[in-house]
C-alpha cells in the first residue's frame, strides 16, 4: 500500500477519537462541568504508577476477549457469546483447579487447558446450531449467554460451592498456592505497587498465536477469504460448515482465557463478584482495533485507561459514567469512519490501477 493510503487508514481512529471526545465535551458542558478540567484530572490520575499497573491488569482480559471475537470477525462470524463462554469456563476451571495441588507451571497449564476446553465446547453449541439448524450465531450466542448465567448461578450455589465455609455468599474453594499465578513485580522492580498479573505473558502469547494463526496458516487463509468473499471461498473448495465450527471453537477457546487473568492473578476463586461484561467490551475493542493484534492491544489499553482514570471523577463531582458514553461514542464513530476510509482507499486503488493501465 502506498504511504498516502497508509496514513489515510491510520487517520480513521484518530478522527473518531477526536469526535468522540468532542461529543463528550459537549455533554459535559451541557451538564455544567468543565470538559478540559475533567479530562485533565482523568489524564493526571491515569498516568500515576498505581494506575498504570491497574490499567495493564485490566487490559489483559480485554485484549484476550477482543482476540476471541476477532477470530470470528475475520470470517464474518459474530461470536457475541464470549461473555457466557468465559464465565462458564472460569467457574469450572476455578473449581477443578482448586481440587488438587501440583507444581505451579503444570497446575496453571492444567487450569488453562480446562478453561479452554470448557469454553470451546460451550461455543461449539452455537456453531452446531448454525450449521445444522440454521440459527444465526448472534441470536444463539446471546441466548446461550443467558442460559450460561443461569447455569452458573445454579452451579455456584449447588455444585461448586465451598464445602463447610461460613462465608455467606456462594463461592468456589480457593486455588491452592500452586495454582496462583505469581505477579511480575519483582521482574520489573515494582516494589511498592499492587500486583502486576503474570497473565500478561499469556495475553502477549495469545496475541502472537492469533497473528500466526490468522495470517500464516491455511486455516487463517480460509477464514480471511471467507470473510472477504464467501462465494469465492466456496468455489475454491472451502467447506463453509466445517469452517464455521472450527472458527467458533477457536474463538471459544480464546474466550476461555479471558477470565483467567483475574482468576489466577487476583481472585483465586470464582465468586459472585467475578468481573462480568468483559465479553461485550471485547467486541468493542476488536472493532476498534480492526481485528489486528497490535491495534487491539492499543484498543484494550485505551479502554482500560478510560475505565481506570474515570474512577477519580466521582471525587470531583463529575458522574464517572461519562466514561461509558465516551467508549460507546468511540466505538460507533470508529466503525463509521473505518467504512468511509475503506471506501476512499478502494477508490484510490482503482484510480491508481486505471492510471497504470493508461500509461
Amino acid at each position: 500500500m502506498k504511504l498516502r493510503l497508509r496514513i489515510a487508514s491510520f487517520s480513521a481512529p484518530i478522527i473518531a477519537l477526536s469526535i468522540a471526545f468532542g461529543l463528550s465535551s459537549l455533554i459535559l458542558l451541557f451538564i455544567g462541568k468543565d470538559p478540559i478540567e475533567t479530562f485533565r484530572i482523568m489524564f493526571e490520575y491515569g498516568i500515576k504508577g498505581k494506575s498504570i499497573v491497574s490499567i495493564i491488569n485490566r487490559s489483559i482480559p480485554l485484549y484476550i476477549s477482543a482476540i476471541a471475537v476477532a477470530v470470528g470477525f475475520k470470517m464474518g462470524l459474530f461470536n457475541i457469546g464470549v461473555e457466557g463462554q468465559y464465565l462458564v469456563a472460569s467457574l469450572i476451571a476455578a473449581f477443578i483447579g482448586s481440587q488438587f495441588s501440583i507444581i505451579t507451571p503444570i497446575h496453571i497449564l492444567f487450569i488453562i487447558i480446562i478453561a479452554i476446553a470448557c469454553s470451546a465446547m460451550w461455543a461449539a453449541i452455537a456453531g452446531y446450531l448454525k450449521v445444522k439448524k440454521g440459527i444465526h450465531e448472534v441470536i444463539s450466542t446471546i441466548m446461550l449467554n443467558y442460559i450460561g448465567t443461569g447455569l452458573i448461578a445454579y452451579g455456584l450455589t449447588n455444585v461448586f460451592d465451598e464445602a463447610g465455609s461460613d462465608y455467606e455468599l456462594p463461592r468456589t474453594p480457593e486455588l491452592p498456592e500452586s495454582g496462583q499465578m505469581p505477579a511480575l513485580n519483582n521482574l520489573f522492580r515494582l516494589d511498592d505497587l499492587q500486583d502486576l498479573h503474570g497473565f500478561l505473558f499469556v495475553a502477549i502469547a495469545a496475541g502472537i498465536f492469533y497473528y500466526w494463526l490468522v495470517w500464516k496458516t491455511t486455516l487463517g487463509f480460509d477464514l480471511r477469504i471467507t470473510g472477504a468473499n464467501p462465494v469465492a471461498a466456496k468455489f475454491s473448495g472451502i467447506n463453509p460448515n466445517r469452517l464455521i465450527i472450527v472458527a467458533m471453537v477457536t474463538s471459544g477457546g480464546f474466550a476461555g482465557l479471558v477470565g483467567l487473568g483475574p482468576l489466577l492473578g487476583y481472585f483465586h476463586r470464582f465468586t459472585i463478584d467475578f468481573p462480568t461484561g468483559l465479553g461485550f467490551a471485547g467486541i468493542a475493542v476488536a472493532l476498534l482495533g480492526r481485528n489486528h493484534p497490535f491495534g487491539m492491544g492499543i484498543g484494550a489499553l485505551l479502554f482500560a485507561f478510560l475505565e481506570r482514570s474515570s474512577q477519580i471523577l466521582d471525587l470531583n463531582d463529575v458522574p464517572k459514567e461519562i466514561e461509558r458514553m465516551l467508549q460507546a461514542f468511540i466505538l460507533l464513530i470508529v466503525v463509521v469512519f473505518y467504512e468511509i476510509i475503506r471506501r476512499f482507499i478502494v477508490k484510490q486503488q482503482v484510480k491508481d490501477a486505471s492510471k497504470k493501465v493508461e500509461t
Binding site: I27, I31, F78, I80, L129, K132, K133, G134, I135, V138, I139, S140, I142, M143, L144, N145, Y146, I147, T149, G150, L151, A153, Y154, T157, N158, F280, I283, A284, L287, P319, E321, I322, R324, M325, Q327, A328, F329, L331, L332, V335, V336, E339, I340, R343
Partner: protein, 415 residues
C-alpha cells in the same frame, strides 16, 4: 379430506404435539397453572414487548437492513419511557419512550444506510451505546431524587387504565358486576373447553389500554406493509433496491423510514416493560427480549400475525417462569414425550443417529421429571431463552428472507 388433515398434522407436528401434551398435562392438579386465565393474562403482558420488538425487526428487515440493535433501542425505550412517565405521566412516557427508540433507530439508519457500515457491526455498537447512554442519563437525571439509584429510576407517575369486558369476562357496568361467561366455563374444569375459556379470558379481563394499543399495531403493520404504496416501496427496497431505484423509488428514504419505525416500535416495547410492567426503569431489565423479538420474527416467517404467534409462545414460557415454577416442572414430561415422538419420526425416516440422540435426551428428561418435584429457580430464569433456541431449531428451515437483507446499498453502484 382425511388425507389432508393427516398431512396437515404431520407437517405441523412440531406445534401440535407439544400443545396437546401441555393440555393433557394441565389436567393434573399440580400443573393446572399451565392453562389458567391468569397464566394466559401474564403471557400476553410478557408477549407484548417481544412482539413489538419483532414487529420492529420486521419493518427494518423488510427494507433490507438487519437490526441487531433492537435490544439497544428497547433499552432506550425503557429509560426514556421511565423518564417521561416520571416527569409527565404514563401515556406521555409511552410516547417519549417511542421517540427515544426512534432516535436510536435513526442513528442505526445513518450508519448502515448513509455510511454503509456492516449492519451487524452497527447493531452491536448501538447495543453497547444504548447501555452506556441509559446509565449515564439515569445518573445525571435522577441524581437528587429519592428511591433512584445509578441503575434504577424513580417510579412513574400516573397510570394506564385497565378494563374487563362486561358479560363475557364479568367486567362491571356502572360499578355493577355482570355475568362472567368465560370465567364460569373455566371453573367447570372440562377438558379442552375450560382451558380454551381460560385462554380467551386472558385477553378479556384486566387488560390494559396500552396492551390493546400494542395489539392493534399488528393488523396495522400488515396493512401498512402489504396494502399501501409506501409499504410496497419499502418491501421492494429490501428485495431489489437497484430495480426500485430505476422505478423512481427513493431507496435511502425508504430504508430510513423502515429503520426509524423499527426503532420506534422497539422503544415502545421498552416503554411497555416499564409503564405496563415494573413501573420503574431498571438496568438490564430488557434481558435479551430484543433478540427474542428477532427470533419471534424469524419464527413468524416475516409476517405480523406470525410474529404475534411466536411472541405468544415466548410470552407463555416467560409467564410460566414468573407465575409457577411448579408448572415449568410439568413441561419436563412434555419435552420428554415430544422427544419420544421425534424418536419415532426419525426411526420412520431411517435417521438412526438422530433417533438415538433424541432417545437419550428423552430418557434424561424423563428421569429428571420422575426424580424431582420442582425445577431450580436458576433454571426457570432462562426458560424463555432456551425456548427460543428450541423453537428456532425446529422452525427455521422454511423462512423466506428478503432478497437483499444485510447487503449495504450504494446509490448508482451495481451489486
Amino acid at each position: 379430506m382425511i388425507k389432508n388433515i393427516y398431512s396437515f398434522i404431520l407437517k405441523r407436528y412440531v406445534v401440535i404435539t407439544p400443545l396437546l401434551l401441555v393440555l393433557i398435562v394441565a389436567q393434573r392438579e399440580e400443573y393446572s397453572q399451565l392453562t389458567t386465565s391468569g397464566t394466559f393474562g401474564s403471557a400476553i403482558r410478557l408477549a407484548i414487548p417481544i412482539m413489538l420488538a419483532g414487529l420492529g425487526g420486521l419493518f427494518s428487515e423488510k427494507t433490507g437492513v438487519v437490526n441487531i440493535g433492537l435490544e439497544g433501542m428497547m433499552i432506550m425505550g425503557t429509560w426514556f419511557g421511565a423518564w417521561g412517565g416520571f416527569t409527565y405521566g404514563a401515556w406521555q412516557g409511552v410516547f417519549i419512550g417511542m421517540l427515544g427508540g426512534a432516535l436510536f433507530g435513526f442513528i442505526h439508519a445513518i450508519a448502515t444506510v448513509s455510511f454503509q457500515v456492516d449492519h451487524i457491526v452497527s447493531g452491536v455498537a448501538i447495543n453497547i451505546l444504548a447501555a452506556g447512554v441509559a446509565r449515564f442519563l439515569n445518573v445525571i437525571s435522577f441524581e437528587d431524587i429519592a428511591y433512584a439509584s445509578s441503575t434504577a429510576s424513580p417510579r412513574i407517575t400516573g397510570e394506564i387504565g385497565k378494563m374487563t369486558v362486561p358479560f363475557l369476562a364479568g367486567g362491571p357496568i356502572n360499578d355493577e358486576e355482570t355475568f362472567n361467561l368465560f370465567g364460569n366455563i373455566e371453573n367447570l374444569d372440562i377438558f379442552l373447553i375450560s382451558d380454551f375459556a381460560g385462554f380467551i379470558l386472558g385477553f378479556l379481563s384486566n387488560i390494559s389500554y396500552l396492551t390493546i394499543f400494542a395489539l392493534a399495531i399488528v393488523p396495522f403493520s400488515l396493512f401498512i406493509l402489504w396494502h399501501t404504496p409506501i409499504g410496497l416501496q419499502m418491501r421492494s427496497v429490501g428485495e431489489y433496491p437497484t430495480g426500485s431505484e430505476s422505478l423512481g423509488v427513493n431507496v435511502y428514504l425508504m430504508k430510513y423510514i423502515g429503520v426509524t419505525i423499527s426503532g420506534a416500535l422497539s422503544g415502545l416495547a421498552g416503554a411497555y416493560l416499564v409503564i405496563g410492567g415494573t413501573g420503574i426503569y431498571l438496568e438490564g431489565q430488557t434481558g435479551g427480549r430484543g433478540f427474542i423479538g428477532l427470533a419471534s420474527m424469524l419464527f413468524g416467517n416475516y409476517k405480523p400475525f406470525g410474529i404475534l404467534m411466536g411472541s405468544g409462545l415466548f410470552g407463555f414460557a416467560d409467564a410460566l417462569q414468573l407465575r409457577s415454577p411448579q408448572a415449568v416442572h410439568g413441561l419436563l414430561i412434555v419435552i420428554s414425550i415430544f422427544l419420544f415422538v421425534l424418536v419415532l419420526k426419525t426411526l420412520f425416516e431411517k435417521k438412526y443417529t438422530q433417533s438415538l440422540i433424541s432417545l437419550l435426551f428423552s430418557g434424561a428428561f424423563l428421569i429428571w421429571f420422575l426424580n424431582s418435584t420442582t425445577i431450580p429457580n436458576q433454571f426457570v430464569y432462562f426458560t424463555p431463552h432456551i425456548t427460543t433456541l428450541i423453537v428456532l431449531s425446529f422452525a427455521n428451515q422454511r423462512i423466506k428472507l428478503p432478497e437483499k437483507i444485510g447487503v449495504p446499498y450504494k446509490k448508482g453502484e451495481l451489486t
